[in-house]
Amino acid sequence: MAAGLAAAASLPRPPPVLARRRFGFAAGLFDTWPNALVTLLLVWLLIRIGIAMWDWAIVRGVWEAETAEQCARTGGMCWAFLADRWRLILFGPYPYAQQWRPALAMVLFALLLGASLAPALWAERRSRLALGIAWPVTIAAIAALLWGGVLGLPAVPSRLWGGLPLTMILASVGVSGAFVLAILLALGRRSDMPVIRAICTGFIEFFRGVPLVALLFLASVLFPYFVPPDWTMDVLLRAQIAFALFFAAYMAEAIRGGLQAIPRGQYAACESLGLTYWQAQRRIILPQALRTVIPSLVNIFIAAFKDTSLVVIISMIDLLGAANASTAEAKWWGLYIEPYLFVALIYLAICAVMSAYSRGLERRLGLGER
């Protein structure tokens, strides 16, 4: 008994977790006079804004109207406009009768992503295998749904894609492509091989130094001048590649920051264990480095998601472009609060999900507690 205790005491203990101080819900709000005053002022403001919003959206809201002019009479929110145009904003010029296809594709994608992000499913070998199969299958299904031309689905060329599905494709494909490239670039920039290092550094500095708008123009307008005339490439794909290259440069620098945080001793330890370069990176270095940079990576993901709206300048009708287009017909012309509010809420919701997930991931990996 006593011997066992002694043995336990001599085992190395895990580092102490920093206990946080616990506060009550209203702590810091009313503890001093100035604080109480500021709190009351802010509460009053919030209530005023809430009442104004309620009045604008509900009390004076217009539910039945044919034109923007009829809607403008009460000065309230034009629900009639949203009722008429919500599908245009969500799906853009995608053929109306076929819009269930991008809708279904988005549901599939959300399910796949939701499943892949659930930490419980990474633990077991079997469920990891299932995910490994589910990914290519779902991606193929999504592609078949969107493009059509198979299984009796009418073909829909990518220039007719639009709205939220287009935004999600640009963001998710762009970010995943960028992530893979970014890891290679970050490793390459820290490589001991001079040519590799120079190429990676040059790539990063170029793509980080050029505005995204310029890159998109380059991809959509100038690209055809550089290649033989019969050598065509889908404009969506070109924009997609421009996105991936641009964000890869940013991500690479974030990841390099994580790599630099790994102590030299770990590299030496890997070598002394006889691990090859790629083994060491995969098993030891990258898992720690990536974990450290989750906050800045998520930062870039969210920025990338919102920056997809820049494709408006190359005439692609993404979520924001569709919001612009929704008021272009003469009858709804001049409305702008409603469509922008509508898409702002969608952007906000998706970004909120992303950051909530990253917070959960950080908590689970014990980040911020070291």
Binding site: A68, E69, V150, L151, E329, A330, G334
Partner: protein, 343 residues
Amino acid sequence: MLRRTALAAAALLGLGAAGDAMAQAAPDQLKTIRDRGVFRCGVYENVPGLSALDAQGNRVGFDVDYCRAMAAAVLGDGSKVEFRTMTLAQGIPALKSGEVDMIALALTYTIQRDTELGLDFVGPTLYSGHAFMVHKRSGATKLADLNGATICLVAGGITDTLISDYFRARNMTFRPVAIENTTQMYALYEEGRCDVVTSEVPFLGMRRSRLRNPADHLILPEMFAKSHMGPVVRDDDRAYSHVARWVHFALVNAEEMGITRENVARMASESRDPAIRRFLGVEGEIGIKMGLANDWTQKVIAAVGNYGEIFDRHYGAQSVIKLPRGLNALAFDGGLQWSPTWR
């Protein structure tokens, strides 16, 4: 089945690519379009009345209907159009490079564009003129009050030349602010970035009705320049240019003859009037000699209606804009729209 579809798709893709290559070599535009199977048309992205998306995501508008009419004439199907959205500044390069078969960007008909730039104008399909809109608080009530004003205008257009001509002739000065996008232009004007905004009269009136406070803005009564607009094609293929021009004449002629989208099929099968029969391709071989199907006029009218119907749908009585026909009435009714004789 699946494999057959895939093969067919591959064959189609191959054909499309071949069509693209030939656009560079021989200027047989009609054949190029037919081989491609789709008519490529440059239109504005979001301009009320001219080109916009409806609730179902279909592109609609006055200019859009001219694209559909062309597709109906050349391909026999008004839905076989691929719209490329562009700004005025992008339009002419896109047309010259062969990216599109026609631009319908309400381009003003000018001698330079016609003779130097290698363009052929269709129409004019819309007759109008330029006017100025000012903030009422500026106190300006006539053109002479605009000396030294900051004027917002669309980049790539001819408006700045027109204004500077007008101003120079009267020893006046102005500061132009060129903006790529029309919607942005009116937003900047409303913010007070410029004192004056200018455009063709119908667009100006429509835009004013949607400013936050229409009563705060005044459209000066004088027009300072004429603007007669229409779609544009390249001028390197006469047969094709003829088709584009005669599509417009067909629309006007149909209105003159009282042929509408609704009655065109009945007219073709029942009418005994030889002029109508010739126009609709029931008699004679006018269409075939143009390199089209003989019944191309029927297809055009079935797709978009006659000129009056197009105007009414997008600018006139049936639209929310309610623009009077004015100069755009038929010549019979005192307007400027006319068609040569169909024989």
